[in-house]
Amino acid sequence: MTAMTRILIRHEFILGILFVIVLFAMASQNDRFLTTANLLNQARLMTEVGLIAIPMTFVIVTGGIDLSVGSILGLCAILLGVFWQNLGLPLPAAIGLSLAAGTAAGFANGLIVTRFRVPPLIATLATLALYRGLAEGISQARSVRGYPDWFAVLGRGDFLGIPTQLWLFALVAAVGIFVLRFTTFGRTTYAIGNNEAAAEFSGLPVVRTKLLIYTASGFISALAAIVFVSRVSTTRSDMGSGIELEVITAVVLGGTSIFGGRGMVIGTLIGLCLMQILQNGLSLSGVRGDGTTVVIGAVLIVAVLISNLLSRFSSD
């Protein structure tokens, strides 16, 4: 085990303890909280944010950020509805095209960041506006409803007693963990975040890696859109707005440095769960939905402060 992962494990350890404390606190507050039904339902609600958080971990480890994920989600949801209802395509084809559109949107982000060397923050802020604008323009504020029953299985059904989308999420998370932890691609991701120039001078494929990561971020955002639409069985152009905040909070809370170079997918998963039970617990104790976003914002700041503090201890 490396010195770096030792510190990360420590961060995750702290987080894990925090998670358990919150779990017990919530359970003692409300006996509806610690039930299998509630927890599985929370996991279901968490899936869209969770899916996007996996590639976002990669993005932030490279020292970048992707603010456009919520807009890509909205755009792909709208496109799904438009392809299916307005163009009359079969639903599987509409899903395929929608995923392709999300992938293309992510690829465009990657191109702007790598080819034109626009800082990721600004590039994705611009495409956040653009993709959301396209979603609004294409939908003209009309929503699409009446999806077939088989489609609802993905968002509302179960498989082997577990919500269907959770299997999908588990698969994406497993791939994320594996790629970042064990492969050359993951190594390159860390190297870029820690010292991009040195990575380039070592012959690592810096541009290709970044391009792939932003593209994956677009693809997974589209996937999240499909899950989202299936879960609520409607499409609206404002879907997923503000989701980037929740995603980034989960990633940073999970110990990934916002300056790049450090972070693990496992941490992101813990951060994600912590956030979700915090929200759920609060709403069970009577705090309204918007109140929980206040907590998320506060948690994000505290998470960055702690991570800054930790990195100061471990810096050379």
Binding site: A126, G133, V287, V304
Partner: protein, 316 residues
């Protein structure tokens, strides 16, 4: 032409371009549909959007200093509600007008401290603030609009020399801020900090103090914008205008403030805000759905950013 004049014109390139584009847009849409140039429409363009131009002034300061603020839309919403609640609860009108400035400065000073002293990147600190402010606002007001505003409170509906007061505010604040940025040592140190923080330190300029001041001023200017926003109608919406922060950032960036810091003037951002207002209005007169407005903004900001990067690469 003297050399100095050439330099001045050269550095105002973006501003001159904007004036030309605005005039061309007015001429084009005016020919297509003369009602576009009616006094009524022109007044509504300026009065309805002056608060955006005012807020963009503060945003320009923030971006010139090398930071960004995505919480300004939510802040304006919160400050407008504070102002409205004060006046409907019997506080003097001048208190309701001034309180947003003070509260805005205070809130953003805290944000500035997080950025400067706790090394939280501005995008994270302000994303978190966006969440806290917008969530807090809805939780607090329950989404209820504030009505029953006293007559003398409607600052944005006043006229001076038959020109609506928001226009005076827009022009006055732009000139004031332009003066501040050009003729005070504080203004120059904002440019210095954004241009080369290391050199600024070597020149004895405090990065931390400058950033905190910039955010506090930005918050106070946001307070002015909030008062204009709150007093333009007979009611105050208690939700934050969706995507307002993006419009404001876009105005700054399209107005010639470089995303990489250190470059730009406040005049450009005001012109860009006018341009956006005119585009929004002209869509209606050109029979284009207003739902495309955000897509147009997205394209504009993306094009400006790409042009900025290309220009930087050329001149080094």
């Amino acid at each position: 032409m003297s050399r100095r004049l050439t330099h001045t014109l050269g550095s105002l390139g973006q501003e001159i371009l904007l004036v030309v584009v605005i005039l061309a847009l007015f001429a084009f849409v005016g020919v297509y549909n003369p009602r576009f140039l009616s006094e009524n429409n022109l007044t509504s363009i300026f009065v309805g959007n002056a608060y955006i131009a005012v807020a963009a002034i503060g945003m320009s300061l923030v971006i010139i200093s090398g930071n960004i603020d995505v919480s300004i839309g939510a802040l304006i919403g919160v400050l407008a509600v504070i102002s409205g609640l004060l006046v409907t609860n019997g506080y003097p009108i001048w208190v309701a007008w001034l309180a947003p400035l003070v509260v805005g400065a205070a809130i953003n000073a805290v944000v500035g401290c997080l950025i400067a002293y706790a090394r939280v990147p501005s995008i994270i600190a302000t994303l978190a603030m966006l969440s806290i402010l917008s969530g807090g606002l809805i939780t607090f007001t329950g989404g209820q609009w504030i009505s029953g505003l006293p007559a003398g409170y409607q600052l944005a509906q006043f006229r001076l020399l038959n020109v609506p007061s928001p226009v005076w505010f827009m022009i006055g604040m732009t000139i004031l801020a332009g003066f501040l940025m050009r003729y005070t040592t504080f203004g120059r140190s904002v440019y210095a900090v954004g241009s080369n923080p290391e050199a600024a330190r070597a020149s004895g300029i405090s990065y931390k103090a400058t950033v905190v001041k910039v955010f506090a001023i930005h918050g106070a200017i946001g307070g002015v914008a909030a008062v204009l926003f709150a007093t333009q109608l007979q009611v105050i919406q208690s939700t934050t205008p969706v995507g307002l922060e993006l419009v404001i950032i876009t105005a700054s960036v399209v107005g010639g403030v470089s995303i990489l810091g250190g470059v730009g003037t406040v005049f450009g951002s005001t012109l860009a805000a006018i341009l956006f207002a005119a585009i929004g209005s002209s869509l209606i007169f050109l029979n284009v759905s207003a739902y495309w407005l955000r897509a147009v903004q997205g394209i504009l900001i993306l094009a400006t950013v790409l042009a900025d990067m290309a220009r930087r690469r050329r001149t080094g």
